[in-house]
């Protein structure tokens, strides 16, 4: 039953990793505009040659 230490440990670590990613995304500003991406997503099919717009997300940090 000592395996409990490992399983709990692993589950907590995974939880913390996901949580950390979530916090990072808040910081990046992913939740500041929750509408536009839903529209933007539909454009990609139109035009596959377009470069990826998401790259710009990183610039939001400068705000």
């Amino acid at each position: 039953m000592e395996v409990v230490y490992i399983t709990i440990g692993v589950s907590v670590i995974i939880a913390i990793i996901f949580f950390g990613v979530f916090l990072m995304n808040i910081k990046k500003g992913q939740y500041q505009d929750v509408y536009t991406p839903s529209v933007r997503m539909l454009f990609e099919d139109e035009d596959k040659s377009k470069k990826n717009i998401q790259k710009d997300q990183s610039i939001n940090k400068n705000q």
Partner: protein
């Protein structure tokens, strides 16, 4: 495309004049946009929405100031010598086609690396290489396809506020910890005798111990700070008992775990803070696209064109304008300073300032006040006051704008919490002392248990949820409030002040009076024919009042004198239509707008135009006057006094000829007399009164376009519903008060367990969330109900 609507903007097309590739356009502007988009392979624009376009405005030379590096530097958000990032507010963003075209700007110029739209905020963020494209070209291109960015004085002076994510971090940490601690505490809720559980319980406990640290020392910090501030000012606010509860919970749990006496209350602690923070989030309904903080800087241009002694034009920042500078104001530009008109055509619209939309004509030598918008042509003027000292902007030097005043609205919850805290502390100490004599080992236990269980979670939650919910309901009805405290303040109002022009009158329609003119049918037809050639708003109104058909004959010798009138010959008629001066009359000082008609050198009379009052204004005043003192505070002259006296309830006070600063002082005097004032206004001239009053609400025909700083913005269409809205606010307060009774009841039950020394972690873990959630449901359901019932 067989329909008769413009392919670009969807407006009806009058004639089939503008056609490209069998597509029909309403005007040259729309046609040009189509051509530009076609050229740049951006014509997918029209695939997403039908007729998505906006008619572009003319902007000749308007953006010349963007050639000046120091102005550009102020506008840029980021600049590293090569790459520039700039963000524009573009009010005309409205559909998915807009997003598409603005995000594909790189097809127009390869120097544009990236462009990103934030649709809810109507902003466009562009990253570009300075070497390949300059800002002026960029802005001119965007403007030429109908997306004119708003670049205002604020961009250069105001510092942009950083959006704070702190509350979101705090609540997400609390949520994360709450969930995990709950899970790890779960085994402890049952009998601990079981072998494996007994063996691992210390692991669970110490994990809880670690996880709860960020909640206590980060998420809950706002409550400690607020409690500390309250105590410093001798106020026992609601955060004081909350802080006491949190501290008691934490210390008690730490003690239990460290000395291995029990499991502690970490689950309740994390849950408590999570629920409280949720309340805070819920109360914070923000309207991305609205701003309640605007002052004149949001509307004034960042730079104007000056003319130096040699007649050369140069862009200059508005703040650097000096006395005696000569400036050039073009079509659609805003006059940023007071000045004297030198030459050119000035037809000014003061609707930003006064709410009155009828344009005023100025001539050389006339004084021009800041805030006016030029409607036609261009003129030169000489600066007589710098930007901060003009008639209008002086208002903002009044101390009401200086302090960062959060109008302190004392919440009723602070009154309750004062007694609450005192009672709780009394019970805690007396039961602690009692147990000290009965059973010493239990004294501290009971003392902390009382503080824990009375922690006023439910009490603190009912207000934010009730007000937050009402805030959303109001928002759906197009009544937008800055924050939830405003609702509470609304219930305490006893005086309501209305501005006149633009607030209780409407800009959209004018009432036309034809009593002073006598025409036969042919004359009317001739007038109508001539008016057809004029775009002036007054021409259109008269055009629509004449029901007779127009002549098919051509107009000879047509002449339009900007801001004065039009003349021309049709058949045997020689017509002159326009202002008194245009006709050669010499009476002007009238209270109404008149259009004179002269046919064959003979004066026929005039049409007069009045503002119409908004629908339901009489009913609005009748509904309000039993409960409130009503005042009309107008910057106009007394021309409308009699009509208002007739229309409004008998004891309505009427005040005319008030300057912006007078309005502010008027409100202040009322407040000195103990009145609690709700000010309802619309223009920048009301800005002072709106800020000074207990609550200032701005009325707007289009909430996206223009509102002065205020506590709330109301759509002009629902202005007659104000009594209803006030009523809902009052009922909400009643609901909150009854919810207090319930939450106190929960506290009494909890106290029973605490005082008798039976408060186990399990009971705390059930009772605390149960009380919170049931109170939240109670207020949410009831507030929805009163709103449906109306």
């Amino acid at each position: 495309m067989g329909n008769e609507n413009c392919f670009h903007c969807g407006l009806e097309t009058k004639d089939r004049q503008y056609i490209v590739e069998d597509k029909l356009f309403c005007c040259n502007g729309c046609k040009t946009v189509f051509e530009i988009l076609n050229q740049n392979e951006l014509n997918c624009y029209y695939d997403f929405e039908r007729s998505p376009g906006v008619i572009p405005k003319e902007f000749k030379n308007k953006y010349n100031y963007l050639d000046s590096p120091e102005i550009v530097e102020k506008i840029l958000d980021f600049y590293d010598g090569q790459t520039c990032v700039v963000e524009f507010y573009i009010p005309s963003i409205h559909c998915s086609s807009c997003i598409w075209v603005l995000e594909n700007l790189d097809r127009f110029n390869s120097g544009i690396k990236n462009s990103l739209v934030n649709f809810p905020q109507k902003t466009l963020r562009i990253t570009y290489k300075e070497a390949e494209v300059n800002l002026r070209e960029l802005v001119e291109f965007i403007a030429s396809i109908g997306y004119e960015p708003q670049i205002s004085l604020e961009d250069s002076v105001g510092t942009k506020k950083a959006v704070s994510n702190a509350l979101i971090y705090k609540v997400s940490i609390a949520a994360f910890v709450f969930g995990n601690v709950m899970l790890l505490s779960f085994p402890e809720y049952f009998e601990i005798q079981e072998f494996w559980l007994e063996k691992y319980k210390n692991v669970f406990r110490w994990m809880n111990f670690i996880m709860v640290l960020p909640v206590v020392f980060y998420s809950a910090t706002d409550y400690y700070i607020s409690a500390y501030k309250g105590l410093k000012n001798n106020i026992l606010n609601i955060d004081v008992p909350i802080t006491l509860g949190v501290i008691a919970l934490y210390l008690r749990s730490v003690y239990e775990i460290v000395f291995d006496v029990g499991a502690g209350y970490f689950d309740s602690l994390a849950g408590l803070i999570f629920f409280l923070l949720m309340g805070k989030i819920f109360q914070q309904k923000t309207y991305n696209y609205l701003s309640f903080e605007r002052d004149f800087k949001s509307y004034f241009p960042i730079a104007v064109t000056t003319i130096d002694k040699d007649g050369k034009e140069k862009s200059k920042q508005v703040q650097h304008l000096k006395l005696g500078d000569r400036i050039l104001i073009r079509n659609e530009e805003l006059v940023p300073v007071d000045g004297i008109m030198i030459n050119g055509d000035a037809t000014l619209d003061y609707s930003f300032v006064t709410g009155e939309s009828y344009p005023i004509k100025k001539e050389s030598g006339d004084k021009i006040f800041a805030g006016a918008k030029q409607l036609d042509g261009l003129f030169e003027m000489e600066v007589i006051h710098e930007v901060s000292q003009s008639y209008l902007t002086q208002l903002w030097s009044s101390d009401i704008f200086q302090k960062d005043t959060h109008k302190s609205i004392k919440s009723h919850i602070d009154n309750v919490s004062k007694y609450f805290t005192i009672v709780v502390l009394t019970i805690a100490f007396s039961s602690g002392i009692y147990w000290y004599f009965v059973d010493v080992s239990k004294a501290v236990y009971v003392f902390t248990a009382v503080l824990i269980i009375t922690c006023p979670c439910a009490l603190a939650l009912s207000t934010p949820f009730a007000l937050g919910n009402i805030l959303r309901i109001f928002g759906k009805n197009r009544f937008y409030l800055k924050n939830a405290q405003v609702i509470e303040a609304l219930t305490k109002i006893n005086t309501i002040i209305f501005d006149k022009t633009g607030t209780i009158t409407t800009n959209q329609q004018k009432e036309i009076n034809t009593d002073n003119i006598n025409l036969n049918e042919d004359e009317k037809r001739a007038i109508k024919t001539l008016l057809r050639s004029s775009n002036h708003p007054l021409s259109r109104i008269i055009y629509e009042t004449i029901s007779e058909p127009i002549f098919e004959d051509r107009i000879m010798d047509f002449k339009e004198v900007l801001g004065f009138g039009i003349e021309g010959n049709i058949n045997e008629f020689n017509l002159k239509i326009g202002s008194a001066k245009f006709i050669g009359l010499n009476k002007d000082e009238i209270n109404e707008t008149r259009v004179y008609i002269e046919i064959n050198k003979q004066l026929k009379g005039y049409y007069s135009m009045k503002n119409t009052y908004r629908v339901g204004i009489e009913q609005l005043f009748t509904d309000l006057y039993p409960k409130y003192e009503l005042i009309i505070l107008s910057g106009d002259n007394e021309g409308e006094r009699e009509r208002l006296v007739q229309m409004l309830p008998p004891n309505t006070q009427l005040e005319f000829d008030k300057k912006p600063i007078d309005k502010l002082n008027f409100v202040r005097e009322l407040q000195d007399k103990g009145k609690r004032v709700l000010m309802i206004g619309d223009g920048l001239n009301d800005a002072g009164a709106l800020a000074q009053s207990n609550i200032g609400i701005a009325v707007s025909d289009d909430v996206n376009v223009f509102t002065p700083a205020s506590d709330g913005i109301i759509d002009a269409k629902i202005i007659n519903k104000i009594p209803e809205l006030l009523n809902i606010s009052r009922k909400t307060l009643t609901i909150i008060k009854t919810s207090f009774v319930f939450s106190l009841l929960y506290n009494v039950i909890g106290l029973y367990f605490a005082v008798t020394g039976q408060l186990t972690p399990l009971i705390a873990a059930i009772l605390m969330p149960l009380s919170s959630i049931s109170i939240v449901i109670y207020v949410t359901v009831l507030t929805n109900f009163i709103n449906k019932k109306k």
